[in-house]
């Protein structure tokens, strides 16, 4: 079974009108996509892949994204990798990921080098501190935006609140190593969710 030669999956409603012609086109498209992504690449990925290039239907994009989110690792890297693999095998995966990471990496390193040069200047150090405060707020706001989704979580509200609070305290306050926290709370959540979901699926008699 070669994912590379399979036609585009037709499970997601309408088929995408276009396919990337070459690995170079893939690389260029993902570079361009990444360079537009200030403060998050996902919204740009949707616009470029679905609306502009029309390489994916909206349903296919959602399917690829939800799989990227469930799998470990950075979501946009996972998404690029699976998209590249579907079209050109592992070489396509490499081309897409290299496009996603390459140029932005050079830019971020240049910025960091500038910062090292001027970090003794109080205004520069102050600006970075201010941006750090905003970064903290951005991450907290993401948490607050996602929190209401727990109300519809199949595990029930209270188990969710318990796990969220326990993990925030264990990692942020007690500074316990993540491995143990994920093993206990993650596996616990997984087992409880499995139990609840399989109860739901069973036809109620």
């Amino acid at each position: 079974m070669s994912a590379a030669t399979d036609p585009a999956p037709d499970s997601g409603g309408e088929a995408p009108p276009r396919v990337p012609r070459s690995k170079t086109e893939l690389f260029v498209a993902f570079t361009w996509l990444a360079l537009q992504g200030f403060g998050g690449v996902l919204p740009v990925a949707q616009r470029e892949l679905v609306e502009r290039q029309r390489w994916l239907s909206r349903e296919q994009f959602v399917e690829l994204l939800s799989l990227s989110q469930v799998l470990p690792g950075p979501n946009v890297v996972n998404l690029s990798l699976m998209f590249g693999d579907r079209h050109f095998g592992w070489r396509g995966a490499l081309a897409a990921v290299a496009g996603m990471l390459g140029a932005p990496l050079l830019i971020v390193l240049a910025l960091a080098a500038l910062y090292v040069q001027f970090s003794a200047v109080p205004q520069v150090a102050g600006a970075l501190r201010g941006m750090g405060a905003v970064a903290s707020g951005l991450i907290l706001s993401t948490a607050f935006k996602l929190a209401p989704t727990l109300k519809r979580n199949a595990m029930g509200l209270w188990p969710c609140v318990l796990i969220a609070l326990a993990s925030a305290l264990a990692i942020g306050w007690l500074r316990w190593p993540l491995v143990w926290v994920v093993l206990v709370l993650g596996l616990g959540g997984f087992a409880w969710a499995w139990h609840r979901l399989s109860m739901q699926r069973r036809p109620s008699s």
Partner: protein
């Protein structure tokens, strides 16, 4: 540190760099819900446990990566660079990207890796609250070095309100934070 000095290992030994790569490789497989959820654990490892960089250097890596275009995961590259130069950057980036990419590659090719499979669903349902808890922990850890500075804490709160109440680009807040900080406010 001069630019040339910053290309060295910053005083670390090679086995430290290997250990760094190994730890980030482990984190890669635990990165459910994106790499930023791991930032608090990275802070514990780099700043608290090993003292390789300080809390403000750590925050600077995240702030620079968020202000630049591209995936936010690049904060990991900057952290690696400030710990041990280019070798450190390779260690953290390869560590965080390669193991999860192998998993994604394999799962992406499996036909039964569908959204409606029970295991996949239980995974995303079961880990959702953990992801949110880890985000709160990361936000908290980033704010911690700034608690003595009322204006910086005000910036944290203002950013949360801005993001929840408007749909404007976060770049506006990053620019505001830079301006307030440069003027000596934060």
């Amino acid at each position: 540190m001069t630019p040339v000095e910053s290309l060295g290992l910053h005083g670390l030994a090679w086995h430290d760099v290997l250990q760094l790569a190994g730890h980030f490789a482990l984190l890669s497989l635990l990165a459910v819900g994106g790499a930023i959820t791991l930032a608090s654990e990275m802070q514990r490892y780099l700043v608290v446990e090993h003292g390789w960089i300080d809390a403000l250097q750590f925050n600077a890596s995240i702030a620079i990566a968020q202000a630049a275009p591209g995936p936010n995961i690049l904060f990991v590259a900057l952290m690696g660079w400030s710990v041990a130069g280019p070798a450190g950057m390779l260690a953290t980036m390869a560590g965080i990207v390669v193991p999860s990419s192998i998993v994604t590659f394999v799962v992406g090719r499996m036909r039964h890796a569908r959204r409606d499979a029970l295991a996949v669903q239980a995974f995303s349902v079961g880990l959702a609250p953990l992801t949110i808890g880890l985000l709160v922990a990361t936000g908290w850890v980033l704010a911690l070095p700034l608690v003595q500075r009322p204006l910086a804490m005000l910036l944290v709160a203002a950013t949360v309100v801005f993001m929840l109440k408007t749909s404007r680009s976060p770049l506006w807040m990053i620019a505001l934070g830079a301006a307030v900080g440069a003027l000596g406010g934060a």
